[in-house]
Protein backbone atom coordinates (compact mmCIF):
# COMPACT_ATOMS: atom_id res chain seq x y z
CA UNK A 1 0.00 0.00 0.00
CA UNK A 2 2.96 2.30 0.64
CA UNK A 3 3.97 1.69 -2.95
CA UNK A 4 0.62 2.95 -4.23
CA UNK A 5 1.66 6.51 -5.27
CA UNK A 6 4.58 5.06 -7.24
CA UNK A 7 2.34 2.44 -8.88
CA UNK A 8 -0.23 5.14 -9.69
CA UNK A 9 2.52 7.18 -11.40
CA UNK A 10 3.49 4.17 -13.50
CA UNK A 11 -0.18 3.65 -14.29
CA UNK A 12 -0.51 7.23 -15.49
CA UNK A 13 2.59 6.73 -17.63
CA UNK A 14 0.62 4.04 -19.47
CA UNK A 15 2.06 0.89 -17.89
CA UNK A 16 -0.60 -1.79 -18.09
CA UNK A 17 1.29 -4.00 -15.63
CA UNK A 18 1.09 -1.24 -12.99
CA UNK A 19 -2.66 -1.02 -13.41
CA UNK A 20 -2.93 -4.79 -13.03
CA UNK A 21 -0.81 -4.56 -9.87
CA UNK A 22 -3.11 -1.91 -8.45
CA UNK A 23 -6.12 -3.97 -9.39
CA UNK A 24 -4.79 -7.12 -7.75
CA UNK A 25 -3.89 -5.37 -4.50
CA UNK A 26 -7.23 -3.56 -4.06
CA UNK A 27 -9.89 -5.61 -5.86
CA UNK A 28 -10.55 -7.83 -2.85
CA UNK A 29 -11.24 -4.90 -0.53
CA UNK A 30 -13.50 -3.17 -3.04
CA UNK A 31 -15.33 -6.40 -3.80
CA UNK A 32 -15.97 -7.03 -0.10
CA UNK A 33 -17.14 -3.46 0.41
CA UNK A 34 -19.55 -3.87 -2.49
CA UNK A 35 -20.72 -7.24 -1.24
CA UNK A 36 -21.35 -5.97 2.31
CA UNK A 37 -23.26 -3.07 0.84
CA UNK A 38 -25.44 -5.04 -1.60
CA UNK A 39 -25.51 -8.54 -0.13
CA UNK A 40 -25.32 -10.16 -3.57
CA UNK A 41 -22.24 -11.62 -5.18
CA UNK A 42 -23.25 -10.95 -8.78
CA UNK A 43 -24.16 -7.34 -7.99
CA UNK A 44 -20.92 -6.95 -6.03
CA UNK A 45 -18.91 -8.19 -9.03
CA UNK A 46 -20.64 -5.75 -11.38
CA UNK A 47 -20.17 -2.91 -8.93
CA UNK A 48 -16.50 -3.76 -8.39
CA UNK A 49 -15.97 -3.62 -12.13
CA UNK A 50 -17.79 -0.28 -12.37
CA UNK A 51 -15.79 1.15 -9.49
CA UNK A 52 -12.49 0.18 -11.11
CA UNK A 53 -13.56 1.57 -14.47
CA UNK A 54 -14.32 4.84 -12.69
CA UNK A 55 -10.96 4.68 -10.90
CA UNK A 56 -9.20 4.06 -14.22
CA UNK A 57 -10.92 7.04 -15.83
CA UNK A 58 -10.31 9.43 -12.94
CA UNK A 59 -6.89 8.22 -11.79
CA UNK A 60 -5.36 11.51 -12.93
CA UNK A 61 -7.44 13.37 -10.34
CA UNK A 62 -5.87 11.45 -7.45
CA UNK A 63 -3.60 13.69 -5.39
CA UNK A 64 -1.21 11.88 -3.04
CA UNK A 65 -0.97 15.01 -0.88
CA UNK A 66 -4.69 14.85 -0.09
CA UNK A 67 -4.49 11.38 1.44
CA UNK A 68 -3.68 7.76 0.80
CA UNK A 69 -4.70 6.02 -2.40
CA UNK A 70 -6.69 3.52 -0.35
CA UNK A 71 -8.82 6.28 1.18
CA UNK A 72 -9.38 7.86 -2.22
CA UNK A 73 -10.35 4.49 -3.66
CA UNK A 74 -12.77 3.86 -0.79
CA UNK A 75 -14.32 7.29 -1.31
CA UNK A 76 -14.87 6.67 -5.03
CA UNK A 77 -16.29 3.21 -4.26
CA UNK A 78 -18.55 4.55 -1.54
CA UNK A 79 -19.91 7.35 -3.76
CA UNK A 80 -20.56 4.84 -6.50
CA UNK A 81 -22.35 2.52 -4.07
CA UNK A 82 -24.55 5.35 -2.81
CA UNK A 83 -25.40 6.31 -6.41
CA UNK A 84 -26.17 2.68 -7.13
CA UNK A 85 -28.34 2.43 -4.03
CA UNK A 86 -30.37 5.48 -5.04
CA UNK A 87 -30.68 4.23 -8.61
CA UNK A 88 -31.92 0.78 -7.65
CA UNK A 89 -34.04 1.64 -4.61
CA UNK A 90 -37.31 0.78 -6.38
CA UNK A 91 -35.99 -2.50 -7.76
CA UNK A 92 -34.79 -3.53 -4.33
CA UNK A 93 -38.28 -3.24 -2.79
CA UNK A 94 -39.74 -5.56 -5.43
CA UNK A 95 -36.94 -8.11 -5.23
CA UNK A 96 -36.55 -8.37 -1.47
CA UNK A 97 -37.42 -12.07 -1.68
CA UNK A 98 -34.39 -12.68 -3.91
CA UNK A 99 -32.21 -11.02 -1.28
CA UNK A 100 -33.22 -13.66 1.21
CA UNK A 101 -32.13 -16.34 -1.21
CA UNK A 102 -28.76 -14.78 -1.95
CA UNK A 103 -26.14 -16.78 -0.10
CA UNK A 104 -22.59 -16.09 0.94
CA UNK A 105 -20.20 -17.87 -1.38
CA UNK A 106 -17.11 -18.38 0.68
CA UNK A 107 -14.16 -20.51 -0.30
CA UNK A 108 -14.26 -23.55 2.03
CA UNK A 109 -11.13 -24.43 3.93
CA UNK A 110 -10.12 -28.09 3.39
CA UNK A 111 -9.36 -28.58 7.12
CA UNK A 112 -12.70 -27.22 8.27
CA UNK A 113 -15.36 -29.66 9.43
CA UNK A 114 -18.43 -29.65 7.14
CA UNK A 115 -20.76 -28.93 10.07
CA UNK A 116 -18.61 -26.06 11.30
CA UNK A 117 -18.46 -24.75 7.76
CA UNK A 118 -22.23 -24.87 7.51
CA UNK A 119 -22.66 -23.06 10.83
CA UNK A 120 -20.16 -20.39 9.82
CA UNK A 121 -21.97 -19.93 6.55
CA UNK A 122 -25.31 -19.59 8.30
CA UNK A 123 -23.87 -17.02 10.70
CA UNK A 124 -22.50 -15.02 7.80
CA UNK A 125 -25.81 -15.15 5.97
CA UNK A 126 -27.58 -13.97 9.08
CA UNK A 127 -25.12 -11.16 9.58
CA UNK A 128 -25.45 -10.06 5.95
CA UNK A 129 -29.23 -10.15 6.16
CA UNK A 130 -29.11 -8.01 9.31
CA UNK A 131 -26.66 -5.63 7.65
CA UNK A 132 -28.99 -5.25 4.67
CA UNK A 133 -31.70 -3.97 6.99
CA UNK A 134 -29.65 -1.06 8.25
CA UNK A 135 -30.07 2.35 6.66
CA UNK A 136 -27.35 3.09 4.04
CA UNK A 137 -25.72 5.73 6.29
CA UNK A 138 -25.33 3.36 9.20
CA UNK A 139 -24.45 0.39 7.02
CA UNK A 140 -21.59 2.11 5.24
CA UNK A 141 -20.20 3.39 8.54
CA UNK A 142 -20.35 -0.06 10.17
CA UNK A 143 -18.91 -1.79 7.07
CA UNK A 144 -15.99 0.62 6.85
CA UNK A 145 -15.25 0.33 10.57
CA UNK A 146 -15.97 -3.31 11.41
CA UNK A 147 -15.34 -5.06 8.08
CA UNK A 148 -12.74 -2.86 6.39
CA UNK A 149 -10.95 -1.91 9.66
CA UNK A 150 -10.65 1.77 8.81
CA UNK A 151 -10.10 4.23 11.66
CA UNK A 152 -12.50 7.09 12.39
CA UNK A 153 -10.36 9.69 10.63
CA UNK A 154 -10.20 7.64 7.43
CA UNK A 155 -13.95 6.95 7.55
CA UNK A 156 -14.60 10.67 7.99
CA UNK A 157 -12.46 11.34 4.88
CA UNK A 158 -14.22 8.65 2.87
CA UNK A 159 -17.73 9.72 3.87
CA UNK A 160 -16.94 13.43 3.83
CA UNK A 161 -18.53 14.02 7.25
CA UNK A 162 -17.06 15.13 10.63
CA UNK A 163 -15.46 12.52 12.86
CA UNK A 164 -18.18 13.01 15.51
CA UNK A 165 -20.87 12.13 12.98
CA UNK A 166 -18.91 9.02 12.02
CA UNK A 167 -18.71 7.90 15.65
CA UNK A 168 -22.40 8.52 16.14
CA UNK A 169 -23.34 6.59 12.97
CA UNK A 170 -21.17 3.65 13.89
CA UNK A 171 -22.59 3.47 17.39
CA UNK A 172 -26.18 3.68 16.19
CA UNK A 173 -25.43 1.18 13.44
CA UNK A 174 -24.02 -1.34 15.91
CA UNK A 175 -26.99 -0.97 18.25
CA UNK A 176 -29.39 -1.40 15.34
CA UNK A 177 -27.47 -4.42 14.10
CA UNK A 178 -27.68 -6.03 17.54
CA UNK A 179 -31.44 -5.41 17.68
CA UNK A 180 -31.99 -6.81 14.17
CA UNK A 181 -29.90 -9.90 14.96
CA UNK A 182 -31.89 -10.45 18.13
CA UNK A 183 -35.16 -10.33 16.19
CA UNK A 184 -33.96 -12.80 13.57
Amino acid sequence: MEQDPHVVKRCLAGEDSAWEELLRSHSRKVYNLCYRFTGRTSEAEDLTQEVFIKIFQTLRSYDALQGSFSTWLNRVARNHLVDHYRRTRKDRVTSSLDDEAAGVEQKPSPDEHPLARLEARERQELLQAALDRLSPDMREAVVLRDFQDLDYVEIAQVLGVPEGTVKSRINRGRLELARVLKRM
Partner: protein, 211 residues
Protein backbone atom coordinates in the same frame (compact mmCIF):
# COMPACT_ATOMS: atom_id res chain seq x y z
CA UNK B 1 -27.07 7.14 34.05
CA UNK B 2 -30.08 6.77 31.73
CA UNK B 3 -30.63 4.04 29.10
CA UNK B 4 -30.07 6.59 26.32
CA UNK B 5 -26.78 7.74 27.83
CA UNK B 6 -25.61 4.15 28.02
CA UNK B 7 -26.60 3.52 24.40
CA UNK B 8 -24.55 6.53 23.33
CA UNK B 9 -21.52 5.18 25.13
CA UNK B 10 -21.88 1.55 24.02
CA UNK B 11 -19.24 1.60 21.27
CA UNK B 12 -16.73 3.58 23.31
CA UNK B 13 -17.24 1.17 26.22
CA UNK B 14 -16.71 -1.91 24.05
CA UNK B 15 -13.67 -0.37 22.36
CA UNK B 16 -12.18 0.59 25.74
CA UNK B 17 -12.11 4.31 25.00
CA UNK B 18 -13.92 5.53 28.12
CA UNK B 19 -12.31 7.22 31.05
CA UNK B 20 -12.21 5.21 34.29
CA UNK B 21 -14.97 7.32 35.82
CA UNK B 22 -17.34 6.90 32.90
CA UNK B 23 -16.51 3.25 32.61
CA UNK B 24 -17.42 2.73 36.26
CA UNK B 25 -20.75 4.54 35.73
CA UNK B 26 -21.57 2.40 32.70
CA UNK B 27 -20.74 -0.80 34.56
CA UNK B 28 -22.84 0.33 37.51
CA UNK B 29 -25.82 0.89 35.22
CA UNK B 30 -25.27 -2.45 33.50
CA UNK B 31 -25.31 -4.12 36.92
CA UNK B 32 -28.71 -2.63 37.67
CA UNK B 33 -30.44 -2.74 34.23
CA UNK B 34 -31.18 -6.11 32.63
CA UNK B 35 -32.37 -4.72 29.28
CA UNK B 36 -29.20 -2.59 28.87
CA UNK B 37 -27.08 -5.61 29.81
CA UNK B 38 -28.85 -7.62 27.15
CA UNK B 39 -28.40 -4.87 24.61
CA UNK B 40 -24.69 -4.57 25.39
CA UNK B 41 -24.30 -8.35 25.04
CA UNK B 42 -26.09 -8.15 21.69
CA UNK B 43 -23.77 -5.39 20.44
CA UNK B 44 -20.73 -7.37 21.61
CA UNK B 45 -22.02 -10.44 19.74
CA UNK B 46 -22.67 -8.39 16.59
CA UNK B 47 -19.15 -6.98 16.76
CA UNK B 48 -17.68 -10.45 17.20
CA UNK B 49 -19.63 -11.63 14.17
CA UNK B 50 -18.40 -8.67 12.09
CA UNK B 51 -14.78 -9.18 13.14
CA UNK B 52 -14.91 -12.92 12.53
CA UNK B 53 -16.34 -12.44 9.04
CA UNK B 54 -13.68 -13.46 6.56
CA UNK B 55 -13.04 -11.48 3.42
CA UNK B 56 -14.81 -13.01 0.47
CA UNK B 57 -12.71 -14.03 -2.47
CA UNK B 58 -13.79 -12.37 -5.73
CA UNK B 59 -14.23 -14.61 -8.75
CA UNK B 60 -10.87 -15.32 -10.44
CA UNK B 61 -12.06 -13.96 -13.77
CA UNK B 62 -13.06 -10.61 -12.26
CA UNK B 63 -9.59 -9.08 -12.65
CA UNK B 64 -9.33 -10.24 -16.27
CA UNK B 65 -12.79 -8.82 -16.91
CA UNK B 66 -11.83 -5.46 -15.42
CA UNK B 67 -8.54 -5.45 -17.34
CA UNK B 68 -10.49 -6.10 -20.51
CA UNK B 69 -12.91 -3.28 -19.74
CA UNK B 70 -10.20 -0.77 -18.86
CA UNK B 71 -6.76 -1.29 -20.42
CA UNK B 72 -7.94 -3.12 -23.54
CA UNK B 73 -10.65 -0.53 -24.10
CA UNK B 74 -8.14 2.31 -23.93
CA UNK B 75 -7.80 4.31 -27.12
CA UNK B 76 -4.56 3.20 -28.80
CA UNK B 77 -1.87 5.75 -29.56
CA UNK B 78 -1.12 6.85 -33.14
CA UNK B 79 1.86 4.53 -33.38
CA UNK B 80 -0.21 1.62 -32.09
CA UNK B 81 -2.87 2.43 -34.70
CA UNK B 82 -0.26 2.48 -37.50
CA UNK B 83 1.25 -0.78 -36.26
CA UNK B 84 -2.20 -2.35 -36.11
CA UNK B 85 -2.74 -1.35 -39.75
CA UNK B 86 0.66 -2.63 -40.90
CA UNK B 87 0.67 -5.86 -38.88
CA UNK B 88 -1.70 -7.82 -41.20
CA UNK B 89 0.32 -6.73 -44.23
CA UNK B 90 3.44 -8.23 -42.67
CA UNK B 91 1.86 -11.68 -42.67
CA UNK B 92 3.73 -13.87 -45.22
CA UNK B 93 0.64 -14.73 -47.22
CA UNK B 94 -0.51 -11.13 -47.50
CA UNK B 95 3.02 -9.87 -48.21
CA UNK B 96 3.38 -12.43 -51.03
CA UNK B 97 0.00 -11.46 -52.48
CA UNK B 98 0.89 -7.80 -52.27
CA UNK B 99 4.25 -8.40 -53.99
CA UNK B 100 2.53 -10.30 -56.78
CA UNK B 101 -0.01 -7.51 -57.18
CA UNK B 102 2.78 -4.91 -57.40
CA UNK B 103 4.64 -7.09 -59.91
CA UNK B 104 1.52 -7.54 -62.06
CA UNK B 105 0.74 -3.86 -61.84
CA UNK B 106 4.27 -2.94 -62.90
CA UNK B 107 3.95 -5.27 -65.92
CA UNK B 108 0.65 -3.65 -66.90
CA UNK B 109 2.13 -0.17 -66.39
CA UNK B 110 5.12 -1.14 -68.48
CA UNK B 111 2.96 -2.67 -71.20
CA UNK B 112 0.75 0.40 -71.25
CA UNK B 113 3.86 2.55 -71.72
CA UNK B 114 3.21 4.69 -68.69
CA UNK B 115 6.26 6.34 -67.19
CA UNK B 116 5.76 7.16 -63.52
CA UNK B 117 8.37 9.96 -63.69
CA UNK B 118 6.42 11.87 -66.34
CA UNK B 119 2.93 10.78 -65.40
CA UNK B 120 -0.08 12.59 -66.84
CA UNK B 121 -3.77 12.19 -66.19
CA UNK B 122 -4.39 11.30 -69.83
CA UNK B 123 -2.23 8.22 -69.26
CA UNK B 124 -5.09 6.80 -67.26
CA UNK B 125 -7.36 6.85 -70.31
CA UNK B 126 -8.11 3.20 -71.29
CA UNK B 127 -7.69 4.13 -74.98
CA UNK B 128 -4.14 5.23 -74.36
CA UNK B 129 -3.53 2.01 -72.48
CA UNK B 130 -4.96 -0.08 -75.34
CA UNK B 131 -2.98 1.86 -77.94
CA UNK B 132 0.28 1.57 -76.00
CA UNK B 133 -0.29 -2.10 -75.24
CA UNK B 134 -1.02 -2.76 -78.93
CA UNK B 135 2.05 -0.83 -79.99
CA UNK B 136 4.30 -2.56 -77.50
CA UNK B 137 2.83 -5.91 -78.47
CA UNK B 138 3.62 -5.32 -82.14
CA UNK B 139 7.11 -4.13 -81.28
CA UNK B 140 7.66 -7.25 -79.24
CA UNK B 141 6.44 -9.50 -82.03
CA UNK B 142 8.59 -7.59 -84.55
CA UNK B 143 11.67 -8.00 -82.38
CA UNK B 144 10.96 -11.69 -81.88
CA UNK B 145 10.56 -12.19 -85.63
CA UNK B 146 13.79 -10.34 -86.36
CA UNK B 147 15.63 -12.37 -83.76
CA UNK B 148 14.23 -15.55 -85.30
CA UNK B 149 15.35 -14.60 -88.83
CA UNK B 150 18.76 -13.47 -87.62
CA UNK B 151 19.21 -16.82 -85.98
CA UNK B 152 18.11 -18.51 -89.18
CA UNK B 153 20.72 -16.61 -91.19
CA UNK B 154 23.44 -17.44 -88.70
CA UNK B 155 22.56 -21.12 -88.82
CA UNK B 156 22.46 -21.00 -92.63
CA UNK B 157 25.92 -19.45 -92.73
CA UNK B 158 27.25 -21.96 -90.28
CA UNK B 159 25.83 -24.89 -92.25
CA UNK B 160 27.25 -23.49 -95.50
CA UNK B 161 30.64 -23.01 -93.93
CA UNK B 162 30.52 -26.55 -92.66
CA UNK B 163 29.62 -27.81 -96.15
CA UNK B 164 32.48 -25.86 -97.74
CA UNK B 165 34.93 -27.18 -95.16
CA UNK B 166 33.78 -30.70 -95.82
CA UNK B 167 34.01 -30.27 -99.60
CA UNK B 168 37.44 -28.73 -99.41
CA UNK B 169 38.56 -31.41 -96.97
CA UNK B 170 37.48 -34.25 -99.34
CA UNK B 171 39.37 -32.76 -102.45
CA UNK B 172 42.57 -34.84 -103.22
CA UNK B 173 45.79 -32.84 -102.76
CA UNK B 174 48.18 -32.86 -105.73
CA UNK B 175 51.86 -33.08 -105.15
CA UNK B 176 52.40 -30.00 -107.35
CA UNK B 177 49.68 -27.57 -106.69
CA UNK B 178 48.39 -25.49 -109.58
CA UNK B 179 49.09 -21.86 -109.42
CA UNK B 180 45.85 -19.91 -109.48
CA UNK B 181 45.00 -16.29 -109.36
CA UNK B 182 44.27 -15.10 -105.91
CA UNK B 183 40.54 -15.33 -105.23
CA UNK B 184 40.14 -13.85 -101.79
CA UNK B 185 42.25 -11.47 -99.80
CA UNK B 186 45.50 -13.23 -100.72
CA UNK B 187 47.81 -11.08 -102.76
CA UNK B 188 51.02 -12.83 -102.18
CA UNK B 189 50.52 -15.12 -105.15
CA UNK B 190 50.13 -18.21 -103.03
CA UNK B 191 47.01 -20.38 -103.24
CA UNK B 192 44.30 -19.50 -100.64
CA UNK B 193 43.74 -22.12 -97.96
CA UNK B 194 40.37 -23.71 -97.11
CA UNK B 195 39.50 -21.38 -94.27
CA UNK B 196 39.95 -18.33 -96.43
CA UNK B 197 37.69 -19.81 -99.03
CA UNK B 198 35.05 -20.62 -96.44
CA UNK B 199 35.21 -17.10 -95.06
CA UNK B 200 34.77 -15.60 -98.47
CA UNK B 201 31.77 -17.84 -99.16
CA UNK B 202 30.25 -16.91 -95.77
CA UNK B 203 30.59 -13.19 -96.41
CA UNK B 204 28.91 -13.45 -99.78
CA UNK B 205 26.06 -15.44 -98.24
CA UNK B 206 25.66 -12.95 -95.42
CA UNK B 207 25.53 -10.08 -97.85
CA UNK B 208 22.84 -11.86 -99.84
CA UNK B 209 20.82 -12.57 -96.71
CA UNK B 210 21.01 -9.01 -95.49
CA UNK B 211 19.95 -7.69 -98.87
Amino acid sequence: MTHLELENLASDYLEGQLTADRRARVEAHLGECGSCRELMAGVRHALELCHSAEDLEPAPWLISKIMLATVRARKPSRWEQILALVRPVLQPRVAYGLAMAVFSFSIIINAAGIRLSGFHLRDLNPRTWAYQANRNGHLLIGRAEKYYYDLKVVYEIESRLRQIRQQSGSTPQDDTPKRQAPAGGSTDGTAPDNSQLALAGGWSLLRTALE
